[in-house]
């Protein structure tokens, strides 16, 4: 497949510290993390407080993102939703990575036959659209918040597994691992102390981008009515609830979606900045 390898789409032109985009992304990222950790800091309202006399209020000074069909404050719901959405994204990424490390190590360190089998398996799964993989898992296990995390995690696993295997192979063949072998270090020690840390360093960027991707996938599932159910303040569930009223109250879907877009964009910008700093000269 040498002719058909996908080129790296990312690039960086200037140093990140001098670009306004980097600082904007950092600021927005910090804001979302703050909302996830201490939502009360950003809003005084309760995300579940119902005021039927204030339903479908358009955005105003009192309700910057408007109110929903039950008069709940959309801004408060977006702020309180950050925690759960972030948790789903991080949980799914951790799950995907754990599976990927097992598969990647099997492929990278096992014998030739084992490598062939796991590589085929990874490639087969990688070729499959992630959202569909997630939908199959939800169909099998039933619809719940837990399945949502599992589904997104498994869907993101093949991409990570490919990287882990490639990195493990590269590190294993490197001079410093050979040097350790010559020094008589045991394979377990070499694996834990040398191969894993070195294989993971390039993955750091990928993980930053991957969390954003996981949040988008989870929100897409939520939008379809799968996963966390309304009225829980979670971004995907909010999108789903707003879908029914989109023609009369545009703010119900617009603001949660906009926050998701801005947050994933911020993660992309930050991930590229990390790459630019850790890999001087840029790697293509």
């Amino acid at each position: 497949m040498s002719v058909l390898t996908v080129p790296n789409a990312a690039r960086t032109r200037r140093t990140p510290l001098h670009s306004a985009g980097f600082w904007a992304a950092l600021a927005f990222g910090v804001l979302v993390v703050l909302a996830a950790a201490v939502p009360r800091l950003l809003t005084g309202r309760d995300p579940l407080d119902i005021h039927l006399d204030q339903s479908f209020d358009p955005p105003s000074v009192a309700h910057v993102f408007g109110t929903d069909q039950s008069g709940r404050d959309v801004f408060a719901r977006v702020v309180y939703g950050a925690g759960q959405s972030l948790l789903i994204g991080l949980g799914a990424t951790a799950l995907g990575l754990a599976g990927a490390v097992v598969l990647g190590l099997l492929g990278g360190l096992g014998g030739r036959a084992l490598d062939a089998v796991t590589t085929r398996f990874i490639e087969v799964l990688y070729a499959f659209p992630g959202l569909l993989l997630a939908l199959i898992l939800i169909a099998v296990f039933g619809n719940s918040a837990g399945t949502q995390v599992i589904a997104v995690g498994v869907a993101s696993m093949p991409g990570y597994a490919r990287m882990v295997r490639g990195q493990v192979l590269a590190v294993r063949g490197s001079g410093y691992v050979q040097a350790e072998r010559v020094l008589g270090r045991g394979p377990a020690r070499i694996l834990v102390r040398t191969v894993l840390p070195n294989a993971f360093r390039p993955l750091a960027v990928l993980i930053t981008l991957g969390v954003g991707q996981a949040i988008v996938w989870a929100a897409a599932l939520g939008f379809l009515g799968l996963g966390v159910q309304p009225p829980a303040p979670e971004w995907g569930a909010m999108l789903n609830a707003g879908r029914d009223y989109v023609q009369q109250a545009w703010w119900l879907d617009f603001f949660p979606g906009a926050v998701i877009v801005l947050f994933t964009l911020s993660l992309t910008v930050l991930g590229r900045a990390v790459r630019a700093v850790t890999e001087p000269g840029g790697r293509r």
Binding site: V6, R120, V124, L132, L239, V261
Partner: protein
């Protein structure tokens, strides 16, 4: 078509069969090993309370009381004939349920792919390799476009062009109903293709053949459109096969946003009611479409890059 290309086609097909078997097997065993009773899904899902006799009758009718391996055997035999059995909820054959919806989804995804290519080529030809505001804005727009999730972009397009401006119908059939969903899928893909093509374009502009074309007195636009674009399009073509898979995922979302018929809507309904034969059937058909798309991508690659006609057999995996 020469021998090496034919070999490549055969390998793709073998990969396709493998993909389908692996996915089918995993889903089959998950279905039968996970707690939960398909007979309940058939009799109305989690909320229904069927009698034990009714459950036993359904189990017998669908063969759930047979040994697992025997069920697996007939499942695989069915797959080879594209017979996915009967849908639990629609009470009709899975294949005919899919057949009725596939055309609409294919029309949507192919239109979206066309839109993505036109947008990214125009953006690349205009901006790549040039310094200045336009190029920088173009690159920024591509990054943002690639990051737009369909569930948000679709809603925004719907709100602006259908609800506010009334240019297009909110829910439409035919050509006017296709415009908004197709742009919903096409714009993010265009951003993605544009980034890749632009990178490649920038790199190829520095190649000696560009200098020689300029030395022959070719215009700047000519150099860009006739020489550099051909090189820069290659990775984009590779990504189109992948892109069609992504578009079908996206079609699930777009069809729900615009209440449009298609296998995406069908899949969401099937997932919600745990109608596994229907889910498996749709998955298979999507995988088939995906494999065919990748096959066409390989052939398009050979058509655009004449060098591959001789080397593709030599550079085997």
């Amino acid at each position: 078509m020469n021998g090496s290309v034919r070999l490549r086609v055969l390998r793709r097909l073998a990969e396709a069969v493998l993909l389908l078997l692996v996915v089918g097997t995993i889903v089959f065993f998950l279905e039968h090993l996970v707690p939960g009773d398909p007979a309940r899904a058939i009799l109305g899902g989690a909320s229904a309370h069927p009698s034990p006799q009714a459950l036993a009758a359904v189990r017998h009718e669908y063969g759930f009381d047979r040994p697992l391996l025997a069920q697996y055997g007939s499942f695989l035999a069915g797959l080879l004939r594209l017979d996915f059995g009967e849908s639990y909820t629609l009470k009709q054959s899975v294949l005919s349920a899919i057949g009725g919806q596939l055309g609409s989804t294919l029309a949507l995804t192919l239109t979206a792919l066309g839109i993505a290519w036109v947008l990214s080529v125009v953006s690349t030809l205009a901006g790549a390799g040039r310094n200045g505001w336009w190029a920088r804005i173009g690159a920024g727009v591509e990054v943002i476009a690639a990051a737009l999730p369909q569930f948000w972009l679709g809603v925004v397009l719907l709100l602006v062009f259908a609800v506010r401006l009334h240019w297009l119908p909110v829910i439409g059939t035919g050509a006017t109903g296709l415009v908004l969903p197709a742009f919903t899928l096409g714009i993010p893909l265009a951003g993605f293709l544009g980034q890749v093509t632009r990178d490649e374009f920038d790199a190829k502009l520095k190649q000696p053949f560009v200098l020689s074309a300029r030395a022959r007195g070719m215009s700047e636009a000519g150099v860009r459109a006739r020489h550099v674009l051909r090189h820069a399009a290659l990775p984009g073509i590779t990504l189109s096969g992948w892109g069609l898979g992504a578009l079908i995922s996206g079609a699930v979302i777009a069809e729900v946003v615009f209440a449009r018929q298609g296998i995406g809507q069908l899949l969401v309904t099937a997932v919600n009611s745990q109608d596994l034969p229907l889910v498996i059937g749709i998955t298979f058909v999507v995988a088939l479409v995906y494999v065919v798309a990748n096959l066409l991508t390989d052939l398009a690659y050979v058509a655009v890059d004449p060098r591959l006609r001789t080397t593709i057999g030599a550079s085997k995996a």
